[in-house]
Amino acid sequence: MSSDSNLIRRSQSLQFPGRERAAQIVRFATSSGQALLAVCIVSFILVVSVSAFGAFILDIHVTAFDPLKMNIMARLEPPSGEHWMGTDKIGRDMLARVVAGSWISLSVSFAVLAVASVVGTSVGLVAGYVGGWVDEVLMRFTDLFLAFPALILAAAIAASFGGGMVSTTVALAAVFWPWYARLIRSRVLSLKEQEFVAASRCLGASHTRLIFTSLLPMVWPLVIVQATTDVGFVILAASGLSFLGLGAQPPTPEWGVMIFESLTHQPASWWLAVFPGGAIALVAIGFNLLGDSLRDRLDPSLGASEAGV
C-alpha cells in the first residue's frame, strides 16, 4: 500500500516536476519582506534581460527601440514621452540601450561566476579534503591572489590580456575564485570530521566517491548563495573595468561604457549617466538582497557575511 502511494507520488512528481519547485519559491518569496523585494527585483531583471537577449539573437528590430539605431535629428534629447530615458549624442534611444545592456552585464557576470565557483570549489574541496602540504600549497597560492587590491589586480590582468570582454571575464574570475576556495575549504574541514563521512569511508567509498557524493552535495548550497550575492558585485566590477576602458568597447551598450561616454556631456545631459548607473545599482541591490535572504533561509546562524570584494 505504502509502496503504491510512493509510486504514485513519484510518478506525480515526474509529471509535474515544476510544481514542488514553484511552491518552494513562493514559500521563500513570502517568508520576509526582504525576500519578496529581492525576488521581485531579480525576476524583473531576468525578464528584461532574457527579452533583450532574445531580441538580439532573433535579430528583431523594434523601430524606436533599437540600441544601435542612430537619429542625428534627435541628439541629446532629455527624457520625454517618446524617449523615456532621453537620447545620446548620436540620437540613440537610451532606454533601448539600458535594456540591451542588461543581458551583456548579466552574461559576463554568469560567465565569471561559473569559472570562479568551479575553480574555487575544486581548490577548496581538494585543499580541505586532502589536507597536509597540498592544503598548505593551495591555500598560499589562494592568498597570493588576495594580496592584491581586487580592482588593481583585475585591471592589471585585463590590461595584460589586451582588454575586451574576454579579458574582463578572465580578470574578474581571477579576483573572485579565492573567496570560493576559502569558503569551501573551511566548510569541508568541519564536514570531513562528521560521522556520515566516516561511515561512508568505512563502507569502502573511494576518495572520489566521498568528495562527489558526501561533500559536494553539502557545500554546493553555500556556493549558490555566495554566487547569488556576487552577481551584483561582479557587475559592479565589470562596469568599473569598462568605465576605465578595459572591458567592453563602444558602441556596445554596456553600462560602464555608457557612463564613461557620458562624461564629455556633463553636466548638461544628466540622463546619459543617471539611467545606466541606476540600472547597475538596481541589479546589485536585487542580487544582494536575494543572496542575503537565501543565506538566512539556508542557515540563519551565518548572518550577513562579509562582502567578497
Binding site: L244, I280, I285, E306
Partner: protein, 335 residues
C-alpha cells in the same frame, strides 16, 4: 611575542615575493613587443633589436626576472609613456594627495560604520536596524564612479554648493610643500582661507570614497555585536546598573574589535581601488587619477609599477593588522 612577529614577517616576505613574481608574469603577458613600443612604430629592425638588447629581452626568463627584482629593489620601474618621467618619481609626486584622501575616508568609514553597526545591533529588529541595513545594502550596490558623477551633478552643477573637483580653486596658489597634505600644509602656512578651500574640495571625494567601506564595516560590526551582546558578561554589566551606552561602547564594542580591525585592513584595498575612479571624476591629482590615465593611454610600465607598489603596501597593512591582534586581545595565541 618576538617569535610571532618573526613568523608573520617571514610569511609576509614570501607573500611579497609571490606578488613580485606574479606582477612580472603579468608584464611578460603584455600584448605586443615591448621593444617595438619603446622604439616607436617607425623604427627599423636594427633599432628595435638594439632596444631588445638594452632591455635584456633576449635573456633567459630567469635572468630577466632577476633583473626585474634588482630594478624593483632600486625603485627603478622604467619611464612613463605619458609623463615622460621615471615612474618612481611620479609615484612619489602623486602619492600624498591620494594618502590624504584615503586616510580621511578610512577614518570616517570606520567611525561612522562602527557607530551605525552598533546602533543596528542594539536596536535589532526595529525600524532603525532596518534603515541602517538598507543603507549598508545601498552603499555596497551603488557603483562609486556613478555616485561621484551624480553628486557632482547635484552639488556642483545644480546647487552650486561645492566645487567641481581638484584640490584647490582655480588660480589659488597652493601653500608651500611640507607634508603634501593640502590641509596640513595650509595650517602650517597659517592660511585658514586655504584650509577651508581644501576642505570644501575634499567633501565630495571623501564621502563617495568612504561609502562602500562604511557599508562593509556596518555589516561586520552589526553581526559581531549581535554575537557579543548575547553573552553573559553583558547581562552582568547591565544588571550592575551600568549605563547602556557604556555597556555597548566599552564592554561590547571592545570585544568586537578583532573583526573590525580585520575588515579595516581589507577595506584599505577597497579604498585604493575606489580612489582610481573617484580621483578620475573629481580631477584629484593623485595616484588614482595617474593609474586611470595610465590605463587609458596603455602605459603598461606604469600600470604594472602601480600594481606592484600598491599591492606591497596593502600586504604590509594587513601584516600590521595581524600583529595588532595580539595587542588588542591577549587571548589570541601567539604561536
Amino acid at each position: 611575542m618576538l617569535r610571532f612577529i618573526l613568523r608573520r614577517a617571514i610569511a609576509t616576505t614570501i607573500l611579497i615575493g609571490g606578488v613580485v613574481l606574479m606582477t612580472f608574469a603579468l608584464a611578460r603577458l603584455l600584448p605586443g613587443d615591448p621593444a617595438r613600443l619603446i622604439a616607436g612604430a617607425r623604427a627599423d629592425a636594427d633599432a628595435v633589436a638594439a632596444v631588445r638588447e638594452r632591455l635584456g629581452l633576449d635573456d633567459p626568463v630567469g635572468m630577466q626576472f632577476l633583473t626585474y627584482v634588482s630594478n624593483v629593489m632600486e625603485g627603478d620601474f622604467g619611464r612613463s609613456v605619458v609623463t615622460r618621467r621615471p615612474i618612481s618619481e611620479d609615484i612619489v609626486t602623486f602619492f600624498p594627495a591620494t594618502l590624504e584622501l584615503v586616510l580621511l575616508a578610512a577614518c570616517i568609514s570606520l567611525v561612522l560604520g562602527a557607530l551605525l553597526g552598533v546602533l543596528a545591533a542594539v536596536r535589532s529588529g526595529t525600524p532603525s536596524d532596518v534603515g541602517v541595513r538598507g543603507v549598508a545594502v545601498l552603499g555596497l550596490s551603488v557603483p562609486d564612479f556613478w555616485l561621484a558623477l551624480v553628486f557632482q551633478l547635484l552639488f556642483f552643477a545644480t546647487l552650486g554648493l561645492l566645487p567641481f573637483g581638484g584640490r584647490l580653486g582655480t588660480g589659488v596658489t597652493p601653500p608651500d610643500f611640507v607634508t603634501g597634505f593640502m590641509t596640513l600644509d595650509s595650517l602650517l602656512a597659517g592660511r585658514f582661507d586655504l584650509l577651508v578651500d581644501a576642505l570644501k574640495h575634499m567633501i565630495l571625494p571623501v564621502t563617495v570614497l568612504a561609502i562602500p567601506s562604511m557599508a562593509i564595516t556596518i555589516r561586520v560590526v552589526r553581526t559581531t555585536m549581535l554575537e557579543v551582546l548575547s553573552q553573559d558578561f553583558i547581562r552582568t554589566a547591565r544588571s550592575k546598573g551600568i549605563r547602556p551606552v557604556r555597556v555597548y561602547l566599552r564592554h561590547a564594542l571592545r570585544n568586537a574589535l578583532l573583526p573590525i580591525v580585520t575588515i579595516f585592513g581589507l577595506n584599505t584595498g577597497l579604498l585604493i581601488s575606489g580612489a582610481v575612479f573617484i580621483e578620475l571624476i573629481f580631477d584629484w591629482p593623485g595616484l588614482g587619477r595617474y593609474t586611470a590615465n595610465a590605463i587609458a593611454s596603455s602605459d603598461y610600465n606604469a600600470i604594472m609599477a602601480i600594481t606592484l607598489v600598491v599591492s606591497i603596501a596593502y600586504t604590509l597593512i594587513n601584516f600590521l593588522v595581524d600583529l595588532s591582534y595580539s595587542l588588542l586581545d591577549p587571548r589570541v595565541k601567539l604561536s
